[in-house]
């Protein structure tokens, strides 16, 4: 490539949380004002326009979510300047094994997946446990648009614009107790809707579970996503609520979450249960530590041309080292892969 684009967030670009929060307040106020003063004009709030070809399905999300989605604002401080993958690629190339093991199974089989109404159970070491409607969980949060790199353990990667809010904000609201050291997530189990959960050949013991250490969950980069490309999440991408942890391999970013539990001990995670020698709990992107079956030193950035494959060197923590490396200080990353 001739034009080199900066592809990691420099520490100077990271806005201190207080300023960023103020800015959000300011923007919210501004948006309110805009809404009043521009009646009849196109909404100023819709700053995020992605090129979505007319022949591809769009996912507007449930009625109640639309205003929130439309009000989302790009958070440049947390976004890569790399070009996002075309919409087509992001919605047709999915690992969502509940719907099948081929990359194209989810887009084929998930289209009728019911994602509204949706309840999420908050459980464990937390002051406000209970079952909540997704609407009530989302209500207090302003959505941000963040363009993240996504790195799959199978050594492909993609750049994707997510819509979501920091998981930290959600965690603070439900007030975990001092005993909470880890957060454990669960995906829906519904054999009627998710055909692969009914397969006797599956290596996964459903539900799919994942987890983060509390400080990882509270990291400003950790995003609870409800949308992509300015719209709601397509079912194949983990609608209606999924995690995005950009410095970890993609399988950590659990989809279609129905339960968030605060626990004392490191929770078991699906891939770690299946093959503990291959998939660790942390699963931080690390070119130095190979997966026993797939070398991790390079990745293919999709979409990739056939005759000159788009091979890029994998960076530690998927290029987010400045933001996250301090959380793993003193840890032997060969042991805690």
């Amino acid at each position: 490539m001739l034009i080199k684009k900066p592809d990691s967030i420099k520490s100077s670009q990271i806005t201190p949380e207080s300023i960023y929060r103020n800015r959000r307040q300011f923007m919210k106020a501004g948006l309110g004002l805009a809404a009043v003063s521009s009646l009849g004009l196109p909404s100023l709030a819709r700053a995020l326009e992605y090129d979505i070809p007319a022949d591809l399905p769009q996912y507007p999300g449930p009625e109640w979510m639309r205003a929130q989605l439309a009000a989302a604002v790009r958070n440049d401080a947390f976004s890569t300047t790399e070009e996002p993958a075309p919409y087509y690629n992001a919605i047709t190339h999915n690992n969502f094994y509940e719907f099948g093991t081929d990359k194209r199974d989810p887009v084929r089989k998930a289209q009728d997946f019911q994602t509204d109404p949706w309840t999420v159970e908050i459980a464990g070491e937390v002051a406000k446990p209970g079952k909540y409607n997704l609407e009530d969980i989302l209500k207090p949060h302003a959505l941000e648009d963040r363009i993240y790199r996504l790195r799959c353990v199978e050594a492909w990667s993609m750049v994707i614009p997510w819509l979501g809010f920091p998981l930290a904000d959600l965690i603070k609201r439900f007030e975990p107790t001092s005993k909470a050291k880890f957060v454990r997530f669960e995906t829906l189990v519904d054999k009627e809707q998710m055909p692969e959960q009914d397969s006797i050949f599956s290596t996964i013991d459903w539900p799919y579970v994942e987890g983060l250490r509390l400080d990882e969950a509270m990291n400003p980069l950790t995003l609870m996503a409800v949308g992509v490309y300015g719209n709601a999440l397509p079912p194949q991408n983990g609608a209606p609520l999924r995690l995005v942890v950009p410095w970890k391999y993609g399988f950590k970013s659990i989809k279609s979450i129905v339960k968030i539990e605060f626990v004392e001990e490191m929770p078991a995670s699906s891939w770690n249960i299946i093959a503990p020698g291959e998939y660790g709990f942390f699963a931080n992107v690390n070119p130095e530590v190979d997966h026993p079956r797939w070398s991790q030193a390079t990745e293919r950035r999709l979409p990739s041309s056939l005759l000159s494959p788009n091979i890029v060197d994998t960076k530690p923590y998927n290029g987010y080292g400045e933001e996250v490396a301090q959380m793993y200080k003193g840890m032997d990353l060969k042991k805690w892969y």
Binding site: Y88, N89, T92, H93, Y97, T101, K103, R104, W156, E196, S199, F201, S202, T203, I204, D290, P292, R293, W294, S295, A297, T298, R300, L302, P303, S304, L306, L307, S308, P309, I311
Partner: protein, 201 residues
């Protein structure tokens, strides 16, 4: 045998030859059609590599199936097509390798070396291909004559090759072992039949 009747005349035998020669080219033609129709998905490289690999396995299993099929259905003519099916297995295996080298690693020798040293399933796949190559080279009639008895010995290497191919396939299991189970069961029957024949003697 009744099943032989539709292909009894010379013209019909010729037709059968052409059918069995052209049909195995369909997977390749299909990929080209999909490619020109821009219908290979988001990761065409991986799709093509996987597709070529699968068809190589299919033809390897078909090659192994010829003996039992001949015995059970009395299809004597099938033997004439065994070398052709074996060559198609090699053909798709070579395309599988070429697609891997071109589309997935862009002929980067450093990557190629790393894949060969760090990915055990690629090593067993490569070994299987290395075994198949001399079998392909010696598949001509003149080579059969020249090698005499040794020809058969050499071509029995299809058994270890098929086991390596199966291992190459099993090693890629992630969330489902459905395909590997099916292919494994078929291979077990095909190789088991050889053992049965051996102990019958």
């Amino acid at each position: 045998m009744v099943l032989n009747l539709p292909f009894s005349s010379v013209a019909q035998m010729r037709l059968r030859w052409w059918l069995l020669f052209l049909l195995p080219l369909w997977p390749l033609a299909n990929l080209l059609l999909l490619g020109f129709g821009n219908d290979l998905g988001t990761d065409p490289a991986k799709f093509i590599v996987d597709e070529m690999g699968t068809w190589s396995i299919n033809f390897l299993w078909i090659t192994l199936a010829i003996t039992p099929v001949r015995h059970f259905f009395g299809w004597g003519w099938a033997l004439k097509f065994r070398r052709m099916m074996g060559l198609y297995a090699l053909f798709y295996a070579v395309l599988h390798l070429l697609a891997f080298a071109t589309f997935l690693i862009g002929w980067r020798s450093d990557l190629f070396f790393r894949e060969l040293t760090e990915r055990p399933y690629i090593v067993v796949g490569a070994l299987a291909l290395i075994i198949l190559i001399p079998m392909g080279i010696t598949s001509t009639k003149s080579m059969m004559r020249r090698l005499g008895k040794r020809w058969k010995t050499l071509h029995r290497w299809i058994y270890p090759a098929s086991l390596l191919v199966m291992l190459h396939f099993i090693w890629q299991i992630r969330a489902s072992f459905y395909e590997q189970l099916i292919y494994g069961l078929i291979l077990a029957v095909l190789l088991g039949y050889r053992l049965y024949l051996k102990y019958q003697k």
